[in-house]
Subunit: 458 residues, 2 copies
């Protein structure tokens, strides 16, 4: 099958967009999810335009070949992992910002644009594209759309889906179509655009994205709190929920993360505390000052050993940079299995307590970062490279964390997506009837089953 | 068929929830859309709980009977209109607010809860449910979900879909299922919840709604501008888009609307201007004052004959009340055909100019209200009762307004939905391939075609 499709691709595509070098293919055949299975694709296509994407999908339709779209490969659930014989469509060469429109507050981009590049281009025009996954220096808007990526500012400003107005895509029949709108509102027919966001390329291969923008916002104030335990920090998060303050960021970073970042970057961050909460608020003017004071009060009521507004912008930025660098810093210590459970905000203290207990029970090293204000926790399970027993213990802990999250009314994935790693969890979260509804939608929009099969739904 | 289903319903439902009185049925068999066709249903069911809704859907499945869910019937597109032999499910008796949770900032309600009642209950706890359609004193959350209702505050705070976290529904197989989540974030599987919102009951019959809430916001400032033409007012709206201000309301009301409200309510509103723009801003403290001043500047640059911050809260509230009352006030003058086109904000002046020209060309009286800041225009076409020629002229004008909107890159429905009235417009807005994708989704989730058939998609 794969020989046929590669021959077909050679016929319909310029030579320079088709990659058949096995070493290059291997690099393009998986994302950043530890232990998610992958096999080398038959070929990688790096299209230059939508017509080439359509040509790939049509060739794959003709031979029943799976199509696996990918962005930068920073995903943490295996959604971009290839199977043997599949064709990977990599969007690195489709990275144009086609339009930034200040009057309509929207941008039109190709899928391969890196998130930070779009954000910088918008900022130049006084505009802001909020979704800011920790991967923003590397990850692409196409990948962000596929996974419905979140980030630090979601707690106030929502996730990628909240900013996608329209998509151009190649659908499961190989047709190039547009869904969504370019107006501020619209209810014309079913919201296929929202359905495509977060579908991990299983319902269509996105070739262009129109995103909504906001005006640039007021500068943020940062509040830092030190806590003796993740549980105390969790209590402070629940206080914020009750206080009626909406922070623009509310991040939890534990000592283990700070130490790993320090060991790597020598930033001198490690604090005299087990856990840091990093809060930000961005109401303009005096209202922002009042919000910052309210946040300090919440941290103190939650049991902070120390809490204050950061008077030093550089220090505040360094702390947020450390949060962003925690994942790659920990990866230096060994393979990292990243959890992504999301629980009701009031259940954050209990969930963090359970994670600590689960880690101890399974003799697994767990570092914690969390979008705490969203209840979205990222315990990072770290194992020494090559230690099979440690890996088994980590996987048992991973499964128990999912149990705990579901018991507390949570969901198995807050923002990383189901991919491959969360398929078992999803099967426990959703009722059989809902699973059947999802399969029916997949069958409806990808009747030949070639679009990233085996991902996103069970 | 209908005799059979009514017999079946009698067997499975308590007598008091089944309505077979033809006069009562007639009142429940249509919404508020002028000239959208309807026929009396075979029966109306007023269920008390989800199990009864499920019993209705199962009885209808057994006999292939269409199920038409309805809220308060304030819809303006015919989405709740019955066909002969169908069964209407009216949610008036399922109007409980089940839970308001300040810590998680969510509410769980039955579909029949009236929008304003939910908003008032939330306000008592310092919380805010933003979506505020003009129908909010009467329309229900279930109806708002079915139509993805918008309103005055959408320009800053989004529409109903942005606030729906989870739904319980009876699906096309008669199963009672839950979709969505109760956490702040979540990407577990396809977003069936967003897909259901705005689907006009064609993909499931919603029996419970979980909505996201916001903390109560700062008091608003109101800015009023008088303009000599809708075109000038449209230019001011485009100025707001360019200025980087995000108003919490930006409404256009023309003299004809104000006169109709005055004639009805004697509020003494009619101004020395052809068109009013009513803006509101709600940034807290001094930032709000600055936003209000910026809005005055935009109005003046747009060509206002007079623009100022309203110093009189009562007057400001009266102006917004007039905007809300414009539709019922105009209905007193004769049948009103309501348009709902939405165009890019920069195209608002051009679209308003075209509407004026189209009205003149077809000798049709058009009053204008608009969520101008969203580009969502509601020209109201008024005809003398019983005047068939006037009605034909109004319908021709309606079609031309849709032409103009599509030429300007707009959508045929900003917030009222497709229902029946916008089916021809939708067929022109969407490509055949997208129409086929929508039909495939419908077929997937309603394989027996009983859920409000003939609405929402083409």
């Amino acid at each position: 099958m794969s020989a046929t499709v590669v021959d077909d691709l050679r016929r319909v595509l310029p030579a320079e967009v088709l990659v058949t070098d096995p070493d290059v293919i291997a690099g393009y055949s998986h994302d950043d999810a530890e232990w998610a299975p992958w096999q080398p694709a038959a070929a990688v296509v790096r299209p230059r335009d939508a017509a080439q994407v359509q040509a790939v999908v049509r060739a794959c339709l003709a031979t029943g070949t799976p199509v696996v779209p990918r962005g930068a490969g920073t995903g943490l659930s295996g959604a971009a992992n290839a199977t043997a014989g599949s064709v990977v469509v990599a969007f690195d060469a489709m990275d144009a910002i086609l339009r930034i429109d200040p009057a309509e507050r929207l941008a039109v981009v190709q899928p391969g644009v890196v998130n930070d590049r779009l954000r910088a281009a918008c900022a130049e025009q006084g505009l802001w594209y909020p979704p800011d996954p920790a991967s923003s220096p590397w990850s692409t808007i196409g990948g962000n759309v596929a996974t419905n990526a979140g980030g630090v500012c979601c707690v106030k400003y929502g996730v990628t889906r909240d900013y996608v107005l329209a998509l151009e895509l190649v659908n499961g029949l190989g047709e190039l179509v547009r869904v969504g709108r370019t107006t501020a509102k619209g209810v014309a027919g079913y919201d296929l655009c929202s359905l495509l966001v977060g579908a991990e390329g299983t319902l269509g291969v996105v070739t262009e994205v129109t995103v909504r923008l906001r005006p640039a916002r007021a500068p943020e104030h940062t509040v830092v709190g030190y806590f003796d335990s993740v549980t105390a920090a969790g209590a402070a998060v629940a206080e914020v929920g009750r206080a009626g303050v909406t922070p623009s960021a509310l991040e939890l970073v534990d000592r283990r993360c700070l130490e790993a970042v320090d060991a790597w970057k020598n930033m001198g961050l490690t604090a005299e505390a087990e856990v840091l909460l990093l809060g930000r608020v961005d109401a303009p003017g005096a209202a922002g000052e009042a919000e910052a004071d309210a946040l300090v009060g919440c941290f103190e009521r939650g049991g902070a050993s120390w809490a204050a507004r950061s008077a030093d912008a550089e220090e505040a930025d360094a702390l947020f940079a450390a949060r962003r660098l925690a994942y790659p810093a920990l990866e230096r210590l060994g393979p990292v299995l990243t959890e992504d459970v999301c629980v009701p905000v009031g259940a954050v203290p209990e969930m963090l307590t359970r994670i600590t207990a689960i880690a101890a029970r399974h003799h697994t090293v767990v570092a914690n970062i969390a979008h705490a204000g969203d209840g979205n926790l990222h315990p990072l399970l770290i194992t020494p490279a090559g230690d099979e027993a440690a890996r088994n213990r980590a996987q048992a802990a991973f499964a128990e964390i999912i149990d705990g999250c579901l018991e507390l009314g949570g969901t198995v994935s807050g923002e990383h997506g189901v991919g491959l790693l969360k398929l078992p969890g999803l099967a426990r979260e959703q009722s059989p009837a809902v699973q059947a509804m999802q399969r029916a939608v997949k069958q409806a929009l990808d009747p030949h089953g070639i679009l990233n099969p085996g991902k996103a739904i069970v």
